[in-house]
Symmetry: C2
């Protein structure tokens, strides 16, 4: 039995008309590896590109990352409730590295996102594609960009510390790192420069009182020492009743409002195109472009507004012509 490949342009049209029901079909297309599907996926990405950089610039792509067990899923449930209470549609792409490991079943985190199954304006893909080492697969980058055409908020949730937030930052408009009180490792990673400074730092379990306030103070002083005193550090509690959730949504919105979003998205497209090219053609391909720095320089010179597949094609042609 041959299954028909979805029409990329048609899916893109529906996304741009803010038809959130096409989300599963969109992700399936982007994750499919057949030649036909890859061609349709490129057509889809080309057709959503104007919305991505347009006047309203589509939804807010928010990266949420941090170690397991800090309460990311409980927090996400609260955030979703807050966004939905304000009629904002939400898509969540949760990358679960344990799905590639034997210990996967132990996480069990996923089940803890509380959702109303009848809510059509909330879409959750609880096992978005990751690469072998838990990073973002090209399909997840592409999925976030595409869904942002239809949803008000697109969340990319990843687990990890020290590498994951770098990759998420290449894709998200705003990156929030979630930590729990008394997690000295995070402070060490920040101080050592191994972890990028997030746009928003969130300390969970604010109901713990003094321990959480202590963590906020420690993180704030670390950020000051790193010359990033402006990075907001918020304490939240996902317990009943929750606290700090509306403030967190406000901090995320404030960060986005302060961005030169079209610049950030242009840069994100270039990094996305280069990441796709390197994933596809490796160092051999990169050498044909004169190395990473030269490729980045060349991309920055291209006409602004080019979409990811066009940029990736241009890199490929340049590598072949070299």
């Amino acid at each position: 039995m041959t299954r028909a490949v979805a029409d990329g342009r048609e899916l893109a049209g529906r996304l741009r008309r803010r038809d959130v029901t096409v989300a599963p079909a969109v992700l399936n297309l982007l994750e499919s590896r057949t030649d036909d599907a890859r061609e349709q996926a490129r057509a889809l990405l080309r057709a959503v590109a104007p919305a991505e950089l347009g006047a309203e610039a589509g939804g807010h792509v928010v990266g949420i990352t941090g170690p397991p067990g800090v309460g990311k899923s409980s927090l996400l449930s609260r955030l979703i409730a807050e966004w939905r209470a304000h009629q904002r549609s939400v898509a969540v792409l949760a990358v679960d590295p344990t799905s590639r490991r034997s210990g996967g079943a132990l996480l069990g985190d996923r089940a803890r996102i509380d959702v109303d199954p009848a809510d059509r304006d909330l879409f959750i893909r609880s096992n978005a594609a990751g690469n072998r080492l838990g990073g973002l697969a090209p399909a997840t980058r592409a999925g976030a960009a595409a869904l942002a055409a239809a949803f008000d908020v697109v969340v990319i949730e990843t687990v990890g510390v020290g590498q994951s937030e770098t990759e998420v930052a290449d894709v998200a408009d705003t990156v929030a790192v979630i930590v729990q009180p008394a997690s000295g490792d995070i402070l060490q990673f920040l101080k050592a420069g191994i972890m990028e400074i997030p746009d928003v730092l969130v300390v969970t379990k604010a109901d713990l009182g003094r321990i959480a306030s202590r963590a906020v103070i420690d993180l704030e002083s670390a950020l000051r020492a790193l010359g990033s005193a402006d990075t907001p550090v918020l304490a939240v509690s996902s317990a009943s009743p929750p606290s700090g959730i509306a403030e967190l949504v406000a901090a995320l919105d404030r960060h986005r409002a302060g961005l030169d979003l079209s610049q950030r998205r242009l840069q994100s497209r270039r990094l996305h195109a280069l990441a796709d090219f390197v994933a596809e053609y490796g160092e051999h391909g990169l050498r044909s472009l004169g190395g990473r720095r030269e490729a980045e320089r060349w991309l920055a010179e291209q006409e602004p507004g080019l979409d990811v597949p066009t940029l990736a094609d241009a890199l490929e042609r340049r590598a072949e012509g070299a």
Copy 2:
């Protein structure tokens, strides 16, 4: 000015005669990217391969990893002193991800490895090659394999949690993860299956007494829950006087003695060859091999004892013929 490329076979001969003074020249050759250097590097790796799998199997390749600030460098100083006190020669390849980031200077960890500069049987490369996201570069994998022909112990030190130890495990005979007491993140990573179970778990700051013993008990019960009750958990102190260092060396040696080392090294060579191939040719190359699983299956069918460059060449020829 043209600099002559080192002769790979000659360097390999000196390594196999246990001439530890060639270590800098060996690493420089392996990290060099010119065509000539790459050819000589392959010749070197081919020529050390018999020693790697031979009767004595060369030195013990030990991976040491964990978050920054846990005292890895102090511990490494103590370990080096212990190994040297028993006349074992030691090479250390320390991969510093902060060298690729702005915050690099903040780490300052490196200076804390105390060494005797006149000791010829101790070699430290404090900034071994890493890739963009802090993983091991092909040159570091190759360096560890080559130096093991001459040194009794080769240490690969990396910083990180959750991804770094996976990569180190592909290369090292024995992987030790170093944690500090009260580091809840590590426990969460272990339980969530995001972090591979190490061969040896080390809790530093044993001088803290009850806090350190509590950490040992927590980690032991987590390992039991994961079905890995046999994994040793050791408490050490690098303070003056140190404690637990001789026990740690014994645990590392015991782990190696229990390995089917030639099986592990054969598997390591296959993973090394495949990692090199993918770094070089990307997903496009991997698809020509029928995908990762098919490539691993095919590699496992090849004659045992083939060296990394020969396996990588075979993958390349197979991809081209496809």
